[in-house]
Symmetry: C2
Subunit: 388 residues, 2 copies
C-alpha cells in the first residue's frame, strides 16, 4: 500500500495525504512537538480539539527518560501518553550531537553522555530503529550525523557518507510493518554534496525523506536555496519533510518549495514566552496595552483560548506567571498553525497557492531576524534540558 | 431569603445548603483556592468537571494585579475568569499583614506596600467592601486585623476590638444585594477573647461567620479546641467558615466540630510538588517506585487524571518537569477533596458521620507534623508572590 498520495500541485506546492497506522494526515502538515511524550502544557484531548493529527516526539529524550523499556511495558508511546493520533519520532541524531556532552562518532555508532545525569551511552543506527519500533511510532527516522554549519567541507562529506551507510543499515534493520522509516538528507550547504546525498538516499527507496541540517541559524535565503536544490533530486511520489521549520512565515515559504511535512518548537516555545501569532505577525500578550482589552486578539480565531477568554485575562495570567497562561497561549498558537495549514492546503487545491503566499507574506510582519538569532544562540548556549 | 439552610446534623457535624447568586452549594464544602483569578493550572471547565461549585479568590491579589477597575471593566470577576460557579472573595486582611511590607494599622485603615512592586497603598474596611462589590463575588469577607500567634494578649485584644469596629463599618457600607458579607472572628488563642469576638459579631447578625487566625502553624489540638469554643457562641442557622483548612484529615476533623465551609491552598500546592492524596495518605508521584506502574494510584478514583493516564506517565512528566504534570496532579487532588466532601455529606445525612470520621482517620496516614511545619515556615519566610 502506498503511504503517500499526491493529490494536487499548485506550482511546486503540493497537497497530499500521508497514510499512517493512526489515521490519514492531510499534507502539507505542521507537526506540534512533544519531545518528552507531551506537547508542553496540553492534554491529548486538547491537541486533538485544536485539530492536530500528527505530532512529533523524540527518541533521544524518551530513551533517556523514562526509558523506552518503560514505555514498551506500558503498551507503547501512543498508549503511554494517551494519544490515539499519529506520531513521528525523530531519531535523536540532532539531540545526541547538540544536547549531550562528549559525543564520539565511529562507523559503528555514537558514544555520548546524557544531558540529564551525565551517564554514558552508546547507540547504533540499528538500536535507534529498534527503539522506535518499541515505541511504536507511525513514522520513524534514521539516525544521522549532522554537521556544524561552519564545519569544513571534508568533515561535512565524511558525516554525510556515514549518514548514508547508517541509512542503509537502518533500512535493513527495520521490521515493523505499521511503521514508516524516513531517511534524512545531509550535505551541509554544499550544492554538490546535497545532490549526492539526495540521489543516494533516493536510490534506497525509503517511504519518505527528510531534509536535515537546515534552519539552524543560517540566513533564510540559504535555507530555501539549499532545500530547493535537494528537492529536485528527491522522488515526487514520496513525502518530503523539512525538519525544524517553522514559524508561520517559514511554513508558507517551505510549502512553496514543495515541502509536505514540518515540525518546530517555535510556535509552542514562543507561546510560553507570551508571543501570540496573528495573521499580521506576533504580538506579546504580556504587553501593558492588553491590560484591559476585551475584544479578541484576532477576530475569527476559533481557538479555545480566544473563544473563552479576553486578552486582558490572558495578559493578567502572564504577568502573574500563572501556569494557565502557558496553556492558553500554546493552544492559540497551535490552533493558528493548524488553521494556517488548512488555508494553505485549500489554496493548493484551488490552484491559487502562489497568490495566497504573496498575500500572507505581504500582510505578515516577520519577527526581526537578529532577535530570532539571538534567542536561538542563547538557547543553544544554555543547553536547556527543556528542549521543546 | 435565607442564604443558608441547615438540613441535617450528625453530632456536631452539619449538612446544609449555601444559597448564592451563582448556584446552591451543598455544605460542608471545601473551596479550591484561585487567589489570582485562576485555580492554578486549571481552566474553569476543568474546575467544573471535577465537581467544585464554589471557589475562593483574593481581593488583595486582584486589587494589586490586574486591578479591580480592570476586572470591573471586563464585566466582573466571574466573567473575567470565565467561571459561572460561585466565588467567595477573601478580604485580603491576612495577605496585607503577612505578605506586604511595612503595614501600618490605624482605626481608619491599613497602609502597606505591594509585595509585587513596593508601591504604597492605603485601604479602609469600606474600600475593601467596595472592591468586592465591584468584583461581584457571591460571598465577600470583611477586612480584619489578624494577630501573630505569639503576640501578647493586649495586642491580640486591640486587634480584635479593631476587627469588631471594622466589621460594624463594613456591614453599614455593604450594599450589593446578590452578595453575602461574612464577618471574621478573631481573638487569638484566648478562650475569653474568642468568646467576646464570637458573641459581639453574632450580635451584628451577619449572614455568615468565619473563624480567622487559625491553622497558622499552631498545634492542631489548639486549632480544634479554639474552633470548638468559638462555634458554641455562633448562631446555628448561619454558615461557619474555617479559613485556611485544610488537608484531607483536617477537613474531616473540622466538619466534626460543626464547620460548613473551608478553603486551603494545601491540596493544590502539594499537588504541584508531586504529592497525591489517597484514602490511605499522600504518595509522592515523582518517587522511582512509580516509574513503570500502570494500575491507578487508587482504584475507584474517577478523576480525569486517573481515568486517562498511568502513574508511570504522571511520574515521568514530573521528573521531566513538564507543565502538564502540575495540571494532572492538581485535578487529582481537587477531585479527591470533592469526593471526600461528598462522602462526608452522605455520612452526615445518614447520621453516621462519627463512624465515617473514625474509619477515615484510622486508615489515613497523616503527614508528619514537623514536615508540615517546616514547609509552612519556609514558605512564610520566602514570602513567595505565588501565594496559592
Amino acid at each position: 500500500m502506498n503511504n503517500f498520495s499526491l493529490i494536487k500541485t499548485s506550482g511546486p506546492a503540493r497537497a497530499g495525504e500521508l497514510v499512517t497506522a493512526h489515521g490519514v494526515i492531510p499534507t502539507p502538515v505542521f507537526m506540534p512537538v512533544g519531545s518528552q511524550a507531551t506537547v508542553k502544557t496540553l492534554t491529548p484531548d486538547e491537541i486533538k480539539a485544536l485539530g492536530a493529527r500528527l505530532i512529533l516526539s523524540n527518541t533521544y529524550h524518551l530513551y533517556l527518560r523514562p526509558g523506552v523499556e518503560v514505555i514498551k511495558k506500558l503498551g507503547g508511546l501512543h498508549r503511554f501518553m494517551g494519544w490515539d493520533g499519529a506520531i513521528l519520532t525523530d531519531s535523536g541524531g540532532y539531540q545526541v550531537f547538540s544536547l549531550s556532552a562528549l559525543s564520539k562518532v565511529t562507523d559503528e555508532g555514537v558514544t555520548f553522555r546524557s544531558h540529564i545525569d551525565g551517564s554514558p551511552h552508546f547507540i547504533t543506527p540499528e538500536m535507534v530503529v529498534d527503539l522506535q519500533e518499541e515505541l511504536g511510532s507511525d513514522v520513524a527516522m534514521v539516525l544521522d550525523e549532522p554537521s556544524a554549519s561552519d564545519a569544513p567541507l571534508s568533515q561535512v562529506r565524511q558525516a554525510m557518507e556515514r549518514t548514508h551507510r547508517w541509512a542503509e543499515r537502518s533500512l535493513v534493520s527495520h521490521k515493523r510493518a505499521n511503521q514508516q522509516l524516513f531517511a534524512i538528507v545531509q550535505g551541509g550547504f554544499s550544492p554538490e554534496l546535497r545532490r549526492q546525498s539526495a540521489e543516494f538516499l533516493a536510490s534506497l527507496d525509503f517511504p519518505g525523506y527528510a531534509l536535515g541540517g537546515l534552519s539552524l541559524g543560517e540566513p533564510k535565503e540559504l535555507t530555501w536555496e539549499t532545500a530547493r536544490q535537494m528537492l529536485q533530486y528527491l522522488p515526487k511520489d514520496k513525502p518530503r519533510y523539512l525538519m525544524g521549520v517553522g514559524s508561520p512565515e517559514d511554513v508558507v515559504e517551505a510549502v512553496g518549495l514543495g515541502i509536505d511535512m514540518m515540525d518546530c518548537v517555535l510556535p509552542t516555545r514562543v507561546a510560553r514566552n507570551g508571543a501570540l501569532f496573528t495573521r499580521k505577525g506576533r504580538i506579546n500578550i504580556d504587553n501593558a496595552v492588553f491590560r484591559a482589552v476585551e475584544s479578541p486578539i484576532e477576530s475569527g480565531c476559533d481557538c479555545y483560548t480566544c473563544a473563552h477568554f479576553s486578552p486582558a485575562y490572558v495578559s493578567h495570567l502572564f504577568r502573574a506567571q500563572e501556569l494557565l497562561a502557558y496553556r492558553l497561549t500554546t493552544i492559540h498558537n497551535l490552533r493558528f498553525m493548524v488553521r494556517l495549514m488548512d488555508d494553505i492546503r485549500k489554496a493548493i487545491l484551488d490552484g491559487s497557492f502562489d497568490s495566497f503566499r504573496k498575500d500572507f507574506l505581504s500582510g505578515y510582519q516577520t519577527t526581526d531576524e537578529s532577535v530570532r538569532l539571538e534567542q536561538k544562540q542563547k538557547w543553544i548556549k544554555a543547553r536547556k534540558p527543556e528542549i521543546d
